[in-house]
């Protein structure tokens, strides 16, 4: 089991096999000690490389307005991916996020159309997302059904509910302030990215600094060992799915506010983007490892790729190919550099 953000054995020295103290350069000590941190740094380098390349093809890529555009586009992804990271660290998976996003956006929009004040409509949507998340978690944990099957089922149920709620496919008559969250700015920062930043910071803080965060890593590392150590495994897992449902709802609110409609068709395939962002960010598919910061960078990579290819004028069909290649390359480069640096680190750390 990994500690939330890597273990920190000592300040400036580690013991070798014979118990002798070995002095190492602090950077390498830190890298060797915290593989997850290294992975995040490498992912960040991949992102910077992509930014460099795209800014070479179109000077408008490196402008404030484009970064605002990018921030608005990636915000829903960051929100949902932060929650998914915690779920995946605990060795779970939530395939329903795209449909929950759509259903919750339609719940909020349909209430808003009926004159319910927006804060209440949004709260209702969050509660609905939490309810679906609770049902996901309860079935997975209590009935011991695979999360893939359960969340695949709720993916269909939530999409069906979204269609059932909207009698005419797209809700019309939304109040004028519906788009406020999606389009407002605080200084140069679009509101959606501020919401996403708060979500990511809270998740990052919780996973690093709280008992709940430690429980999440413990459950993902070895569920049985965690249970024997007194970790409330079931409660932890159900809480994660509840939070995942709520964050999908929040992403839905942000997205539908941005596009200015309540549409049951939104979010199709969103779960795959979310999972891609989480994996690019270094979270292990087998659980127990992952960082929220890595996921945030992973989500930005997904957004930058799409934005950069559009701004570079790449033909749409080639964009599919390029997106696939770059995503694979990002993960491969990330893995290779990670391994290489670790190897160097270990060599330097070896006693003379």
């Amino acid at each position: 089991m990994n500690a939330p953000f890597g273990s920190h054995p000592s300040k400036n020295s580690l013991k070798n096999g014979e118990g002798n103290s070995v002095q190492r350069p602090s950077v390498w000590r830190s890298i060797v000690a915290d593989r997850q941190k290294l992975q995040t740094i490498v992912t960040l380098l991949v992102l910077l490389l992509m930014i460099l390349v795209f800014s070479f093809f179109n000077p408008r890529f490196l402008t404030l307005s484009n970064f605002q555009n990018l921030a608005r586009n990636t915000a829903p992804l960051i929100i949902a991916a932060s929650a998914m990271t915690a779920v995946m660290i605990a060795r779970g998976l939530d395939l329903s996020v795209g449909s929950v996003l759509a259903a919750c956006s339609v719940v909020a929009a349909s209430l808003a159309v009926k004159g319910v004040p927006l804060p209440l409509a949004f709260l209702a949507a969050l509660a609905f997302g939490a309810l679906i998340g609770f049902l996901n978690g309860a079935i997975i944990v209590r009935m011991r059904v695979s999360p893939i099957i359960v969340t695949l089922g709720s993916l269909n149920i939530a999409r069906g509910i979204a269609y059932l709620i909207t009698p005419s496919a797209i809700l019309v008559g939304l109040p004028p302030n519906w788009s406020a969250i999606g389009t407002a700015k605080l200084g140069p920062f679009p509101m959606p990215i501020l919401i996403a930043a708060v979500v990511a910071l809270v998740y990052g803080w919780a996973s690093q600094r709280t008992k709940f965060g430690k429980h999440v890593y413990a459950v993902g590392g070895n569920e049985e060992a965690a249970r024997l150590s007194g970790v409330p495994v079931e409660r932890t897992l159900i809480s994660l799915y509840v939070l995942s449902g709520m964050m999908a709802a929040l992403a839905g609110i942000v997205l539908s506010s941005r596009v200015g409609s309540g549409d049951p068709n939104i979010g199709v395939g969103f779960e795959l983007e979310v999972i891609a962002a989480v994996i690019i960010g270094g979270t292990s598919l087998s659980g127990g490892e992952g960082r929220i910061m890595g996921t945030v960078i992973g989500a930005i990579i997904v957004g930058v790729l799409s934005n950069g290819l559009n701004l570079s004028g790449v033909e749409p069909f080639w964009q599919y190919v390029a997106q696939g290649l770059v995503l694979i390359a990002a993960v491969v480069v990330d893995k290779r550099v990670n391994e290489r640096v670790l190897k160097i680190g270990r060599r330097r750390a070896r006693p003379a």
Partner: protein
Amino acid sequence: MTILKSLSLGVAAGALLALSAVAANAADGPVAIAGASFSTELCEPSDPAAVKDIPAAVSGFTGYASEPGTWLEQPAASALTGKRVALSVMGLGQPYFLAIKGHWEQLAAKYKFDLKVYDGRFDAGTVQKLVDDIISDAPDAVAFAPLDSGAAVPQVKRMLDAGLKVVTYNVQPTEVVAPRVFANDFDGPRLVGCNAARYYKAKFGDKPAIIGIVDLPQLPQVQDRKNGFLYGFKSLIPTAVVAQSVDGGGVIDKANPAAADLLQGNPELNVIFGINNDSSLGAIAAMKAADSYSPDWGVVASVDGSEPVMAELGSDASPLKAESGYPPYDFSLATFNLLGATVEGKTNPNTQVVVGYPPINPTEEGIKAWLTQQYPR
């Protein structure tokens, strides 16, 4: 009481003032300009060289000549009465197909036939399965909406081999297999292009037009829409250039970021064509986020005519000022009549009915007339 009366009078006076202000604004506003420049006539190229490289229509390989007949009128009686009818739709998630379903349900109630609706969910696998289900159910007549024109050929053949009476509507199969209803996907959007150009010239004069497309490049039918629009627009403004096409996926949450990138990468853009309403609404949302949402920006045009776009079309604040409808009522009625004729044995595989893309006048009356007939509540 007196206070209430005074309040009511005050409110009424305020409302009248507001209405007169809107009316005064509308008299020379973008809606009025679009209404004045609007036409139901196609425009011909002023400079043939400007449109010579635009590909011709590919989806209507059987031509666009329609079988003579009163296909768009409700008959006194129908051969479908008392029959079991299967209706497939591409996906009920879209307002267009939801309206198709609604119109068919009204027809079923009026002409007393048993209707079963099959939802293809915009998924090739689901459509394949629903074909199997229809064959198992063996209805008396089938109105089938192919998802893919190529895959539709064996699907329709299988239903015909099973002895079913089948007509297709919307997307046309790539081979002549059954009677069909489809639209002229080139000329309909071409008319939108003409009306967008008429409005652009009336509002912006000789200002150079730079076009962006929120596209869905995978579908031939959509490529006809795009090329039709360009043909129409460049017929009246031959100097117009296409800066970029982006893939908006045909759904609003994908179209929105794609349109945002389009605007970001091409700040000189002043014309956007969305290949459907989700694409144009995604572009509108992107413009709002980028603070460029204004009728002074240029013109946004699209096809479909769904209700959310009508609010934009009729608003003086919106740049969306050219729209042609993809008419669910016309499609439903034409398909209903063609299916009835097929059950009576009055058609053959070559029988085709071509439905138009009615251009929608952006005035209040024009929008009301369109919505009342095609998208009744």
